[in-house]
């Protein structure tokens, strides 16, 4: 009986948490398909009488959504590729090699993440302007990589720490070089960790606004989705349902990626490597 009641409390807790987490997504969607007049009604309407489904096709036609989403995707893929290349080696080195000052170096990498983006944006702007990258998507790729690398390095270090050293030792006895052991054994085993880390970096880049706003404002062809959406806010009139519909377009790719990578994210591939 006691077990049953504690189970009920558990389910209620899970339901409440899900409600809190899912409500903003639901509300974004409802705002998108509601007529503008419904948005300020009191009490609020939790589902419109006549859903305005055409809002999605309208903004797809009237706004360069595809271009913005493509730019966001390119920026995110570029920064993730760059960050993962750096952080796989950095995380592996921090996990496996004991060098004098290695621990301090690892912590120092993390301090880069402690600086607010708004503080870094000014020196980065100066650097990118001097090398002619302002207005180019590359500026955002590089800037995002500086944000992502510290976190992904530490995430991967943590993941590599969980992989027994004997695996690469066995690979080396079997004839691999240290680098060969990393690529042939450790990285395949670390696939769930790599997927989770890459996804984290992708989301970080995808959700950026400050860097895109600073580096790309004068280059409309390079606008990312987040930057593009803010231009939909008018000086006198703002169509919140259109902005919400655009936001749904922006949220959708992340949702789809999570669904596809879910099985990798839960891990479990290392089972059987050792007792």
């Amino acid at each position: 009986m006691k077990l049953r009641s504690s189970r009920i409390v558990l389910y209620l807790g899970v339901a409440a948490t899900c409600a809190v987490l899912l409500f903003p997504i639901y509300w974004l969607f409802v705002t998108a398909i509601s007529p503008p007049a419904d948005l300020r009604s009191l009490p609020p309407r939790f589902w419109p009488d006549v859903p305005q489904w055409q809002v999605f096709s309208r903004i797809a036609e009237e706004r360069p959504m595809l271009l913005w989403l493509t730019n966001s995707t390119l920026a995110a893929l570029g920064s993730v590729a760059l960050s993962m290349t750096v952080s796989v080696f950095a995380g592996y080195a921090l996990s496996r090699f004991r060098v004098r000052g290695g621990q301090s170096l690892g912590l120092f990498i993390l301090t880069a993440k402690m600086l607010p983006a708004t503080l870094l944006v000014i020196p980065l702007f100066g650097i990118f302007r001097s090398v002619g990258l302002i207005g180019s998507l590359w500026s955002v790729v590089l800037a995002h990589a500086t944000l992502i690398v510290p976190f992904t390095t530490w995430m991967l270090k943590g993941y590599f720490d969980t992989i027994p050293r004997e695996l690469e030792q066995a690979a080396m006895v079997d004839g691999c070089s240290p680098l060969g052991a990393l690529f042939r054994v450790i990285l395949p085993v670390a696939t769930p960790g790599l997927a989770a880390t890459a996804l984290y970096g992708f989301v970080l880049s995808w959700s950026d606004y400050a860097y895109a706003r600073t580096f790309l404002t004068n280059a409309q062809q390079s606008w990312t989705a987040n930057l593009g959406i803010t231009t939909m806010k008018g000086e006198y009139v703002t169509d919140w349902n259109e902005i919400s519909a655009a936001a749904v377009f922006v949220a959708l790719p992340i949702l789809v990626i999570y669904l596809f990578l879910e099985r990798y994210l839960v891990g479990g591939l290392t089972a059987g490597a050792e007792k």
């Binding site: 027994p164 004997e166 695996l167 030792q169 066995a170 690979a171 080396m172 006895v173 079997d174 004839g175 691999c176 070089s177 060969g180 054994v185 395949p188 085993v189 696939t191 591939l269 290392t270 089972a271 059987g272 490597a273 050792e274 007792k275």
Partner: protein, 377 residues
């Protein structure tokens, strides 16, 4: 196949020395076991042999080749790890063939060797499975299979049975010994379990604090331990240690044990000046009998443990015989310095607190110097 020679190998981590001047010649086809308590340097020595650790000094030769500075993959050795270290993303067949693939062997030959090794180890029905789908014993066999398909000069095994349960460990112990006899490959096996060492080894190397204590075959190790540590480490239950003061007369060296004058099995000439000095006397539990003998003494056991086929009788030591150093005891020995264990087979009924007569033959006593802890013979 080849012999292995280890010459003056040292290993230090900064100021901490974990291996001192390790010298050993291993014959072609020999099965050598490194045994010792945790932290004695046995696994470090094995990793130096594998090339996974760099020695601070000395040389390692496999056959006539100096492999000291060669990468692990170039040494032509195979290693079995304590936690199996199977590649979790590969099937059993690809796990076993991985080393051959790295050496550029053609696919047909890899398949042939993998199937042959799998048959020997009775894992041929598991070749398409992943390691996580195998039991502990099956994983251990696959790890062995991965080693034998390589047909290397030597096998290195780092506590390969310690993750198995007791019953399976006994079974796999016999299988590894049989495999060694069948293949005849030089094998170096590391364990902290002296029973594994005694049952499997052609020769045992006992280590402590980075130093070799004794190198000998199992029977010699048991019968003629070089020092107190070896005497306490080998044997289960471990050897009993009693303290005694030597007196000398025309009949030879003598000590008082259980209140009786006992002749030491050591000629006085072997240790001039021993008279009046304390010595540590070792007596194995199995060398104590349940009836009257050359030296008999009546005691009341403070504890009797029955294992069915035999009984362990715990007896209080007289005060004059207490005080042997505690560090001489074996790793699995829970005795304090005030008790002696007798191991009696078919002893009949023995009860805690009830009087019983025990005996031993003084010729079975081992004598150790109380200062240097070295055997006196």
């Amino acid at each position: 196949m080849a012999g292995i020679r280890i010459e003056n190998v040292r290993k230090s981590y900064g100021a901490v020395t974990v291996l001192r001047d390790f010298n050993l010649d291993i014959a072609d086809g020999e099965f050598v076991v490194f045994v010792g308590p945790s932290g004695c340097g046995k696994s470090t020595m094995l990793k130096i042999l594998a090339g996974l650790e760099e020695a601070s000094g000395g040389r390692v030769l496999i056959g006539e080749r100096d492999v000291t500075d060669l990468a692990p993959g170039d040494r032509d050795i195979a290693m079995v790890f304590q936690n199996y270290a199977l590649y979790p993303h590969l099937t059993v067949a690809r796990n076993m063939g991985f080393g051959l693939k790295m050496r550029g062997m053609d696919r047909g030959e890899i398949d042939r060797r993998v199937k042959e090794a799998a048959k020997i180890l009775a894992v041929d029905h598991l070749l398409d499975r992943r390691p996580k789908e195998l039991s502990g014993g099956q994983r251990q066999r696959v790890a062995l299979g991965r080693a034998i398909v390589r047909e290397p000069q030597a096998f290195l095994m780092d506590e390969p049975l310690s993750n198995l349960d007791a019953k399976l460990r006994v079974h796999m112990r016999a299988e590894i010994s049989a495999l060694h006899k069948r293949l005849g490959v030089t094998t170096i096996y590391v364990t902290h379990d002296q029973i594994e060492a005694m049952t499997m080894a052609d020769r045992i190397v006992i280590m402590r604090d980075g130093e070799i204590q004794q190198i000998a075959d199992p029977d010699t190790m048991f019968a003629r331990p070089e020092n107190l540590f070896v005497a306490g480490f080998i044997g289960s239950p471990g050897m009993n240690f009693l303290l005694g003061n030597v007196t000398a007369d025309e009949r030879g060296a003598r000590v008082s044990l259980f209140g009786q004058d006992v002749s030491l099995p050591v000629p006085l000439a072997a240790v001039p000046g021993i008279a009046g000095r304390p010595v540590i006397l070792g007596l194995r539990p199995e060398h104590i009998g349940p009836a009257h003998g050359p030296v008999s003494f009546a005691v009341r056991p403070r504890l009797v443990e029955s294992l069915g086929s035999e009984k362990y009788i715990y007896v209080d030591l007289p005060h004059e015989n207490r005080g042997a150093p505690a560090d001489a005891k074996g790793a699995d020995d829970e005795r304090r310095g005030d008790a002696l264990i007798a191991r009696l087979v078919d002893a009949g009924a023995v009860a805690t607190g009830e009087p019983i007569t025990l005996s031993f033959d003084p010729a079975r006593l081992h004598v150790f110097d109380a200062d240097t802890h070295r055997a006196i013979r």
